[in-house]
Symmetry: C2
Subunit: 189 residues, 2 copies
């Protein structure tokens, strides 16, 4: 995580939050967060109402980058089928990194166990957006039931992320193979 002296206290806090919450979990304390960010607790509480708000803001800030890493850009040619498979190829690729701990949004929801937590609200929006993106491609690809296919893809997406993130699975093609079967069955050729 690039935390340069030039970054604002706010950005340093969000950089540290992004890294620490992902690596160690949402129960990381304010002390550790501020220490890692090189920001005083006083400054943190001037910028954010609470640690919960720092977590929510860090998840919100990383959402565009997270989506960009997984979703093929508008300039990438490709059929809807290829664009859906691309997402899972990317998950398989990033899951090989030793720092990979699964989807940060699903992890936050599992850890927080509170749908009303500000970070849960942000995480739920990010997960809904991903499902919507799948449904759009499913529709474009002529899926028989686009909403059903999008939900199935999310089951595989979250299962693959969670299992690889906790070391239960090495995604050497298994997610992509699973998605191919689902696309075939839905008529997305």
């Amino acid at each position: 995580m690039a935390t340069t002296d030039k970054a604002s206290p706010r950005d340093r806090l969000l950089d540290a939050a992004t890294e620490l919450f992902y690596r160690d979990g949402v129960s990381i304390g304010v002390e550790a967060l501020c220490k890692s960010a090189g920001v005083s607790k006083r400054s943190m509480y001037q910028l954010f109402e609470s640690k919960d708000e720092v977590l929510a803001a860090s998840l919100e800030r990383q959402a565009p980058g997270y989506a960009a890493r997984l979703i093929a850009g508008p300039d990438d040619a490709g059929t809807p089928r290829e664009r859906i498979l691309y997402v899972f190829e990317q998950v398989e690729r990033v899951s090989a990194s030793p720092e990979f701990m699964g989807c940060p949004y699903l992890a936050a929801l599992v850890e927080l166990k509170d749908p009303a937590h500000p970070a849960s609200v942000v995480a739920r929006v990010a997960k809904e957006r991903m499902k919507d993106a799948f449904r759009v491609q499913a529709e474009l690809g002529g899926a028989r039931e686009p909403e059903l296919l999008a939900r199935q893809l999310m089951l595989v997406f979250d299962g693959a992320n969670a299992r690889a993130g906790v070391g239960l699975e090495t995604l050497d093609g298994v997610a992509v193979a699973t998605v191919r079967v689902l696309l075939d069955a839905a008529g997305v050729v």
Copy 2:
């Protein structure tokens, strides 16, 4: 959770741990755990080396019951395909309960983020057993690649549990429908 006065302090601690860790997460403190169990901290530390050991023991103790709720018993007739589908029918059924928070073993692994934690070790064994049970049924059912099918079923199992557990999904047949497609493709008829 039935915590009667007749239960031993050990059982009361494990009952409370099972309930609290599942509902509120692994960061629940010793104080809250002992209070809920009606056991002094002194007694807890006489019975267990640490809170981590209580968590590990509670996951270990609930494993047979967890498997029994999901897996068709030996007396239940049924083809391998039916036995595999039964697991997902059960997941869909139990996920409708307001207390449902997903698979306790996956949740513990996601929350702990430490493969060496004693509870992570227990959780990993439980998850491996479930995958092995799927592979046995896949073999009996004549799957083309039983290990691949078992891994695919675990992606769907964990994705469905996680998404329903955090309220991203209502499993009104979507997990079962997904598994049917995978069984068809693997030749398990």
